[in-house]
Symmetry: C2
Subunit: 289 residues, 2 copies
């Protein structure tokens, strides 16, 4: 297929690379030229704007940073909507707001085109290894068309429902992680404070009812003093804000989520916004200094 | 060995049964005679009081409900301490306060005997299948002596350090679970509120970074409307209170734990104290009715 890809960050570059490697024609546009070079060397085609890109494509994938970036790529001057034609498919894989996903779907349908919201989880590693979980909302027929392309990027690909459903599902994912990170960090900090060897504590509690991906994968990094980002605190704060806003608009109160956002904002205020989410631990250990 | 066992609840009865089945002499005492019958039929010996029981034993295990029950069994008139002799070993497997574990150890040592605090996780199922995680604090030599008996009851047996360390470790376990349950219930409630199919959401999020024992094991029960107790809310509230008190005495602030306790107390106020911990979900869905 003729595929466009916008957003060649650490994850996007890997994902676009898988599409290109599978033999598809790949068009790209980036604000930062250097980010494109690797893919151009492998045969990708450069376009100056999203509008120019979409003209040559059957489907365009986007995975950018913040909802305002999505807004600019889709609705800005020279954005995707300005040149969208009937039958084309737009797939936003950014973690963004369900409301914006619905606005994109509505605007797309008005142009007789189709949209999907398809945020992912799995991080850099999942993108590199084509092992992402992809949560898909939007037009069901568009999902069937795009499914073989998702298969090139991910492993656990689930159609969740109409436009916005992919984003809602991703927010569920972040809500579950948010409170669990409080538990992981508080358990480790309590272990240290009470004089236990936290490595021994992990060997007792990691495999039972307290077990979680975060406890198995992030807690050992915390104990090694490794706060390098797998997932940036600043991006997690963005996601939790989206979840809080969406919950509010649904009239739903999620106090664990709100508390986690508050604790992560404290971490950001301590200068940890570019650290990994496991650096939340430092908010708790600061008390001990 | 000559073993005593006090506390023949759902877990204790299984654990004592494993000791008896391995060929040890088992002495028991219960307040409720009916709870003893199964073990008496298998050859256990009945004693009227803890004091009478300890006289015939090399080691006595206890696993009772609340710290005040531990206090009564150890320090009450006709309690274990009243008849304890040099060289005997007392092992409290109740989830109780680290401070009480230290008091028991001190009183035991004054009588030239030895004590361990060895709370467990794994629930009814872990007790039945001899697959408990056992977190042990107290005298290291006593641990070596008792280890073969722990092996009859559990699989993941870790010596955590001096008296109270087993209890501290168990509180770490409960701290990690407490906040995670907020995340699990909030994610599922958000899924329902936003119109998603929560079963589909689980298939997207259970195996990735949001994954946890609770999400894999309790969330499906929530969606089936199964709020039967694997672990009672009233007992989890007890454990979280112990953790909050212990954290306070260490000068450590654990806001996720405090919030989880508050939410579970709301559940208890709704009449859910004898439901399983997954019934926390109802605190969130009540809003939706």
């Amino acid at each position: 297929m003729n595929i466009g890809f916008i957003g060649l960050g650490v994850m996007g570059a890997s994902m676009a690379g898988h599409l290109l490697a599978a033999g598809h024609r790949l068009g790209i546009t980036t604000r930062t030229a250097s980010k494109a070079q690797g893919l151009l060397d492998q045969g990708a085609h450069w376009y100056p704007t999203p509008a120019a890109l979409v003209t040559d494509c059957e489907v365009v994938f986007t995975i950018v940073g913040y909802p305002q970036d999505v807004e600019a790529v889709y609705f800005g001057s020279d954005g995707l909507m300005s040149a969208l034609q009937a039958g084309q498919i737009l797939v936003d894989m950014t973690t963004s707001s369900p409301e914006l996903a619905i606005r994109i779907a509505t605007a797309t349908e008005e142009r007789l085109a189709l949209a999907l919201d398809a945020p992912v989880s799995g991080g850099d590693k999942g993108a590199r290894e084509a092992a992402l979980s992809i949560m898909v909302g939007g037009d069901a027929k568009a999902f069937e068309t795009i499914k073989p392309l998702f298969d090139l990027m991910g492993k656990n690909i689930v159609y969740q429902g109409p436009a916005g459903s992919g984003q809602h599902c991703k927010l569920c994912n972040q809500i579950a992680i948010a409170s669990n990170m409080l538990g992981v960090c508080e358990a480790l900090a309590y272990a240290k404070r009470s004089g236990l060897d936290p490595h021994l504590v992990l060997s007792s509690i990691s495999t039972g009812a307290a077990g979680s991906w975060s406890l198995s994968n992030l807690a050992p990094r915390i104990l090694d003093g490794d706060f390098e980002p797998g997932f940036f605190i600043k991006h997690f704060i963005k996601d939790m804000k989206l979840a809080v806003e969406s919950a509010q608009s649904l009239g739903f109160d999620a106090p664990g989520l709100s508390l986690a956002l508050k604790q992560y904002q404290s971490a950001a205020q301590q200068g940890l916004e570019n650290a990994g989410t496991q650096a939340l631990f430092r908010v708790y250990t600061k008390q001990e200094d």
